[in-house]
Symmetry: C2
Subunit: 429 residues, 2 copies
């Protein structure tokens, strides 16, 4: 019979075991750090109703990418990010939550994009948010930036140093007011500013001047290029927003030493829903990768689901997008040994003693495989070699009579006959 | 505007944060144990091609439950168990794997079943398998049973004691040969035997006699009801299979003390593909829940994808099905405290010192929230109470001048002014 292809679908991730070990190690370190910061885990459904996923007033590219289907009478789809489910969850469970509510989720999302390098159709994202009811003090914007700084300290062994670039939609809005830029063109201007890192000054000014004229475009460019603190004195409202960001900025400099955080008014994020600080994170070693983490402050998280008002500040790290290529290319080194010890029984009569020994090592937290199959000793040794075990424990009749084991270090070749307790002392975690 | 319902879809799991913490704790303990046993993690795609999911020669109930859809030119679907992807993966990556290949996966699967108590449409399953190429020694059947025993030792705090019931399709097959039962009715007989725990002796005999006559049905009942070791002497082939199982059984008794493992020929598992040992696990306290873990030995794992032959032995624990109802009902107690410490700044001028203190506690592994928002001290205290923090650390001007903090135990009400290092000594992990 003709065989079905064993390949995974194009655009889908399929890590090999030692690659998966490394990916899990990275994700676990993020989860642990988030919990140290008091963030609670959520693990919301992957399948949602289409009315939850689709924004009827804003049919956009994301919608074309969604996996949508019907089952029975239900119109369903797969979530494409971590926020849409959060919005529904917060609305439905507000009475059981303590606000400000800190939550994280490392989950799979699905987007049927055209496959391209570093883009996956099924990918993990690590989302973290602080949600307030009605209001959320600007100190929580600081908390998120501090958290991101600490998350990337955790990730430093894998990705090196990062730059966290922080912008302010509030300040930008006051600059728009000051320059008398019409509401109707502001979203366009934001989308242009978002491209600043990729285009020249002249190109950006040219894009903007079509909407606001050359003078304002040049003035705006000059402002977003400069230090936001030097803008003081233009309007009282702008001064107020600058003072607010300065409080956060000073605290960040105080905490992080400012080596990894920059304030940059050209950081805007294209999306419509941000209303306060916005941020993006870039790798110092590989800025061409683009933003590896982004987010900001948003209002009206759940107004689709609730008449209560929820506001938040949060971000997301594209963990698959960031780490899968680095793991696959070898930029992140894999562990050689997954197994600490392979216990080998010399004869079938030693099988039970080998098993008991194996379980004792496991109880001590030592990763152990027991090989009691009917193959020859040499074959078992070969298998231990293939498994890259750090040690083998050999159990034969002598060992069983003496209630000892022979421990062999596979790197040095040294071996010694010792008790199981001594093995545990030597290798135990 | 009319609001969209915030409820999750019927049949879908949505745990609240403290419930999710407990679920994750249980799953993590399983993963850790599996890695101690040398099992490697896989995390295969959720979306597969329909030709991977669907068995064209065996259109069955599972297929009606599948979530199938099209995207562009691709006919796709969501995986319904952990084996179908494994079969494809092993076929596609055999040259990179070391056999016997031990792998586990805790992943979401999807089945659009009619919702009923304890059945979910999107659910986690913990799969574990040992795969061999061409052959797999029966010692690996022992290894899996030993593993299951140890996994349920880990789960004992949540579910109490279990009974692992072990049957043998090989022995059953020899009994069928001995009783001269036709090949064509054997699958039916297996399905009836699978019901033995739910029906009376007479009902089971009546079901079977329609296919094999009353005498054979009664004889078969008597055999599967009895001790398999007493069957010796009927045919040489049967004796051989009994001897093989006895080796495994003796080792299990030797290792586990036999309190949790029973050999029972009526354990068959309905599915067609098992060929050796089969097992199911039941809770001693709640046998009515049915089997909470099952599996066995199978041949031809990947023949749909490869002309190489892979055989395996493995099982799966229905972690959502087992634990979600126990978590939701309160049968499994939730942790009260997720947060160890809330650091409260008395005045805005103390915010930076509060932040630095918070980060130092976090570096020591203490779960810490820092509250520097602009609300009054009383409000911050209320929030710490709602978060069920074990301790609060209060930082005012006095503390900042003295470079100390006030630590208050929220259970006892006691408080003391000490250094951050002393707090870490007291609460550090």
């Amino acid at each position: 019979m003709a065989k079905v292809s064993a390949k995974p679908l194009s655009g889908f991730i399929e890590l090999k075991p030692l690659q998966q070990v490394k990916f899990n190690e990275i994700v676990d370190s993020l989860k642990q750090k988030l919990e140290i910061f008091g963030f609670m885990p959520l693990d919301l459904p992957i399948i949602e109703r289409q009315e939850v996923l689709i924004d009827e007033t804003d049919k956009n590219e994301t919608q074309n990418q969604m996996y949508l289907f019907e089952k029975g009478e239900n119109k369903l789809g797969l979530r494409f990010d971590g926020t849409v489910g959060l919005a529904r969850f917060v609305a439905g469970n507000a009475n059981d939550l303590t606000f400000p509510f800190r939550r994280y989720q490392v989950g799979r999302n699905f987007r049927g994009e055209r496959p391209q390098k570093g883009r996956y159709r099924e990918f993990y994202q690590c989302d973290f948010d602080i949600i307030g009811e009605n209001t959320l003090d600007s100190s929580y914007e600081f908390e998120i930036i501090n958290l991101i700084y600490e998350l990337f300290e955790t990730l430093k062994p894998y990705v090196g140093d990062v730059i966290i670039k922080v912008g302010s939609r509030k300040i930008l809005n006051e600059i728009f007011n000051y320059l008398d830029i019409e509401e109707s063109v502001r979203q366009n201007i934001l989308i242009f500013i978002d491209k600043k890192m990729k285009v020249s000054r002249d190109e950006l000014v040219e894009m903007m001047q079509e909407y606001i004229g050359q003078a304002k475009a040049e003035k705006l460019y000059e402002i977003i290029e400069g230090d936001y603190k030097k803008l003081q004195g233009l309007t009282p409202e702008l001064d107020e927003k600058i003072a607010e960001l300065s409080v956060i900025a000073d605290m960040i400099v105080n905490i992080t030493g400012a080596k990894n955080v920059e304030f940059d008014l050209s950081i805007v994020r294209g999306l419509g829903y941000y209303t306060g600080v916005v941020f993006e994170v870039f790798l110092k070693n590989e800025p061409s990768l683009g933003s590896v983490c982004g987010g900001g402050r948003y209002d009206n998280l759940s107004d689709k689901f609730s008449s209560r008002k929820f506001v938040g500040v949060g971000g997301a790290i594209g963990v698959s997008r960031l780490f899968v290529p680095m793991i696959e290319s070898g930029a992140i080194k894999l562990d050689k040994n997954l197994v600490d010890v392979v216990v080998i029984a010399m004869n079938a009569s030693n099988n039970s003693y080998a098993q008991v020994t194996g379980n004792r090592l496991r109880d001590a937290g030592i990763k152990t495989i027991v090989n009691i199959d009917s193959s020859k000793f040499k074959k078992k040794l070969e298998n231990a070699n293939k498994l890259d075990a750090k040690y083998i424990v050999v159990i034969g009749d002598d060992e069983e009579v003496e209630q000892l084991v022979t421990l062999k270090n596979m790197d040095t070749g040294e071996s010694e006959k010792i008790s199981v307790n001594q093995v545990i002392e030597k290798l135990g975690k």
